[in-house]
């Protein structure tokens, strides 16, 4: 039996099921990160003193990572636009670039984390570092999740393009929505943790 409303619009919602599904999931993600941001506000405002992020963290590396993640958002939306233009080869290039940029982000984070650990800075060291590792760690898990789904659509999942291109294009759009959300979260994490 075919999965309903993968391509055709449901009359009651005005949407395909995948679209409403990913947005509901992102709504739950907003609350997840919202709870952590609220914890950050509570702990920071309650602390007698709080270090400026730049004194403990590597701002140039984080700026580079921000540029990397924003670039990956552009390549992601260009991958989807390539499918809309019926250019599968171009899609593969843009989607491949998105995955690679995600990998660059993770490698940079690996070097950042390694430097902290070598300095003896762990989550248990201070409230600031506990929040830093929790927020960036959870964000990294999301990057890994997004990369996994994108890699599937770059590789084996791309077979769907031959049999049902519209459904495949919709799937890539939904995967892109998650990826842009991951970018959006970093846009707020970067100044909050590194610059303030």
């Amino acid at each position: 039996m075919d999965i309903p409303y993968t391509v055709e619009i449901r009359r009651d919602t005005g949407l395909i099921n995948g679209k409403i599904g990913i947005w509901l999931f992102l709504a739950s993600e907003v609350m997840l990160f919202g709870a952590l941001f609220a914890s950050y506000i509570l702990i920071r405002t309650g602390a007698p003193s709080w270090p400026r992020g730049a004194t403990m963290l590597n701002v140039p590396l984080a700026t580079f990572n921000t540029i990397v993640l924003i670039s990956s958002s552009v390549t992601m939306v260009m991958a989807w636009a390539s499918l809309k233009r019926n250019r599968f080869g171009t899609y593969r290039i843009y989607m491949g670039a998105t995955i690679l940029l995600g990998l660059v982000f993770l490698v940079v984070k690996y070097f950042e984390y390694s430097a902290h650990f070598e300095e003896g800075a762990f989550p248990s060291t201070s409230n600031f570092l506990a929040l830093y590792f929790t927020l960036t760690g959870l964000h990294m898990l999301h990057v890994i999740g997004g990369m996994t789904v994108n890699a599937y659509f770059w590789g084996p999942g791309a077979k769907l393009w031959k049999t049902n291109p519209e459904w495949f294009t919709n799937r890539v759009e939904h995967s892109g929505l998650f990826w842009h959300f991951v970018d959006l979260v970093w846009i707020f994490l970067f100044p909050t943790l590194y610059l303030l």
């Binding site: 709870a35 921000t66 636009a81 919709n170």
Partner: protein, 101 residues
């Protein structure tokens, strides 16, 4: 966004590039401002303002929120209410048990 034609997509691609340039510029502005060592309340305001502008650009253009269906707006509106309530909770707490008394 699913019902857009290929011709529309060509126009959108130009917008994506413009938004990308704007996001890069705003990122550099955020970092540059941090080196001015503004007083904390001012620094927080400016940093969050720039981040909000960047986030809005991503949501509106890359996530196509400018042209979404009403149901998506309803879901996000409800989420926004709960999100703001969540952020407000610590504020009330630090005001010496404002809600408790």
């Amino acid at each position: 966004m699913s019902d857009h034609t290929a011709a529309d997509i060509d126009r959108h691609v130009r917008v994506y590039i413009t938004v990308f340039v704007a996001l890069m510029a705003l990122t550099l502005i955020t970092v540059a401002i941090s080196y001015l060592h503004l007083p904390l309340p001012m620094a927080v305001t400016v940093a969050l303002l720039v981040a909000t502008v960047k986030g809005t650009l991503v949501a509106c253009y890359f996530m196509h929120l400018l042209s979404e269906k009403k149901l998506i707006y309803a879901v996000l509106g409800l989420t926004a209410v709960f999100f703001l309530a969540l952020l407000a909770l610590p504020v009330f707490t630090v005001r010496d048990g404002y809600w408790i008394h």
